[in-house]
Symmetry: C2
Subunit: 84 residues, 2 copies
């Protein structure tokens, strides 16, 4: 068994309003950073997984994203796996 | 002025307990994914910034991270900038 590290990004879909991101975009102006626009805030998740191969680790992480980490109605996800 | 896209990861520091990550690690077992361990959950932030150069965009995003996006006592951040 090999240990892999996964880095997962879960973001609100483009069509979905992101109120937290909107609020932060507004705060940038007050900080004197008006050139920053269109802030969107999602989750960054790291995890360790033991698997016999990178393909199996990939499939397991995909399953975890689909079933637990992302809400596919409102969010999309991407991830990368590397050997630990 | 050029438009740049920034991708920022804000994660709880290693020494800091991450209760949300711990809870998700526990849930993995119930999903039949016991091989997933040490889940840590932070924020993934994307934003657009107009700047005269990549160096300036870099400095502005660093300022935004320090002053607004990350709590440096409990969190650390990394980011990448690319031309839009």
């Amino acid at each position: 068994m090999t240990k892999f590290l996964a880095e997962i990004d879960v973001m609100p879909k483009k069509e979905i309003l992101d109120p937290q991101g909107k609020a932060v975009t507004g705060s940038m102006k007050n900080l004197g950073l008006a050139e920053i626009q269109n802030v969107r805030i999602g989750k960054h998740i790291t995890l360790e997984i033991e698997a016999a191969s990178a393909e199996i680790a990939n499939a397991k992480v995909d399953e975890a994203c689909k079933n637990l980490l992302a809400n596919l109605i409102m969010e999309s996800y991407t991830f990368e796996i590397k050997e630990a």
